[in-house]
Symmetry: none
Subunit: 186 residues, 4 copies
Amino acid sequence: MARGNTRQRIQDVALELFAEQGYEKTSLREIAERLDVTKAALYYHFKTKEDIVISLFQDIVRPLDELIAWAAEQPRTLETKTEILRRYHDALTRAAPLFRFMHENQATVRDLSIGVDFKDRLVRLSELVQEPDLPMADRVRCVSALFTMHAGMFFLQHVDGDPEEKRKAALEVAVDLITQAHTGHA
Amino acid sequence: MARGNTRQRIQDVALELFAEQGYEKTSLREIAERLDVTKAALYYHFKTKEDIVISLFQDIVRPLDELIAWAAEQPRTLETKTEILRRYHDALTRAAPLFRFMHENQATVRDLSIGVDFKDRLVRLSELVQEPDLPMADRVRCVSALFTMHAGMFFLQHVDGDPEEKRKAALEVAVDLITQAHTGHA
Amino acid sequence: MARGNTRQRIQDVALELFAEQGYEKTSLREIAERLDVTKAALYYHFKTKEDIVISLFQDIVRPLDELIAWAAEQPRTLETKTEILRRYHDALTRAAPLFRFMHENQATVRDLSIGVDFKDRLVRLSELVQEPDLPMADRVRCVSALFTMHAGMFFLQHVDGDPEEKRKAALEVAVDLITQAHTGHA
Amino acid sequence: MARGNTRQRIQDVALELFAEQGYEKTSLREIAERLDVTKAALYYHFKTKEDIVISLFQDIVRPLDELIAWAAEQPRTLETKTEILRRYHDALTRAAPLFRFMHENQATVRDLSIGVDFKDRLVRLSELVQEPDLPMADRVRCVSALFTMHAGMFFLQHVDGDPEEKRKAALEVAVDLITQAHTGHA
DNA sequence: AATGAATGAGGATTCATTCAT
DNA sequence: TATGAATGAATCCTCATTCAT
């Protein structure tokens, strides 16, 4: 009946449920039931529950790695930094559910083996929009720029307004923040 | 053996473990073992596991409510807003582990009955540092100001530097953000 | 505050709850809460949970024993038998909740130490309304007479009609049954 | 190891234990141990403990429903009523342990979701052996007829005599009772 | 005459995982 | 490419009971 797309369908449903209810509160039974297969079927495609999450992370980590690699080769100009934010914003938008899952399940993700990897990348990324020897406040601005976009995606849900507009505004503020950090805002 | 402090001790250990490992991954058995009491003893003091968390939240919600009440009565000047941030920063610092728990277990907290309450308060607080009819970017700044302090407490752990200094810098940036929002930063 | 009547109050509440929900599904916590005392208070008055039931049974067993003793001394006439039924009917009416409890919790009562006693008394009573060497059908009639009154109290709840009238009718039928058994109904 | 008969085996053992010790005093651990499987295995076959009982009831409810349906279509003659009793007697005999369980665990069965259903059927059945507008005593006779057979199966255990003979006698008395009710026994 | 604090044993249930087919 | 059947370990929670005060 279902062809070779089962693996993909598992990932889709899993992500949906993980994002919605959290990792621990989503059981393999639940995933299987939604797909109308048995739990055992899941094990044909993934070695463990954690394996499913890991596979999901690939989708997020690869673009992130590419972004980091690209950024590392650019001159550290304001334009580059702006472009980094723009691209991160893009990744965020495209993989929104996954980021949401990450964001809301940090305690879980933290000891999920890939948790560390992800955090490292965020740190790395925040470094790439910083300047060495920046005053602390400006370093905070750079980190905050990243977080502002996260906030723009998740917390701003609870604030009224057009989602698209809110995301754009978040990007704008983020860019503003690194600009200030970059120029040593008088 | 142990006197009337058991309830408090449960809360302490619970908070510690919840913050460290997450809510779901902390079992009552674990809490009980650390305290060298039986699981049943926990149930003498708290009706359910959720009840323990709820009791913890009281410590956070009360100061927050006081802050909100106070803020609602002040004139909406920049000084007031700055003071709100300062006080929130204080609350954050004092109840750091609890905020950390909240921050890292959002998926869990969300459907923990008090989850909604807490989020509502954050929304309310972000409104109190905003101006009505602000352009979206400035509204994002206000929300971001709050989040920056969160980031200052949790994500910045992974950035080197003196914790005290980082927190102060976070507050500074937050104040800066609402200042920009307030003055309609030319 | 409460004086020497606590013991009695415990029995009252316990009987009420036992009859309503069954013995196992009624916890001492529940009883204590209803009385607004602690569980420990129950243990001041009764050694165990079973002890509470046992104490309740006294109220039923004593009248029954008196009835049996009285019956054993009477001539085995139809009048006597009728009077036995009448008196049993009385006991049943007076201690309705307790009989209801017994009736609906036989599995529990059975291994409750006094369970056997009670059953023995019923058997004894059924013998007292029989004649030795009666054909089996007539012996069934005698047992059935007893059960008819039980049915009259409990199952007939679910049949419409005035309770008083139903109970009287049950007694009437019961008397009829032993009359048939006594006279060897042609 | 064991093939497709596990579900059936669970039902068998469960019924045996439920009838012997009562529903609440029979734990799933006990059932599992008797079958030499784990508790979890029970949950593969039944969603809850209650589900096991429900499944058992199917065996009793179906024949009962058929009997009721059949009876509803017959003319309300004495022959029909007699046949109803006879068939009920059959059902009772065949599913004796189940009826015994029901009989002795009424308090439990009552709020077991199917409890109501079963009682409704008994009421319905008692109506089918009655005549409309019968005097109360005769209505009691009809109910008593049903109960006599129950008594014949359970209470009469404690009376000596051949079980087969006792059951037959119970049926005989029951028939007698509805005959009296039917003919308006002068 | 009663409470506050606790225990130990056990309850039903759920979970991720396995493996023969 | 899956399923049916099962396991072992853990979960939260409840209960009757105890005892020092």
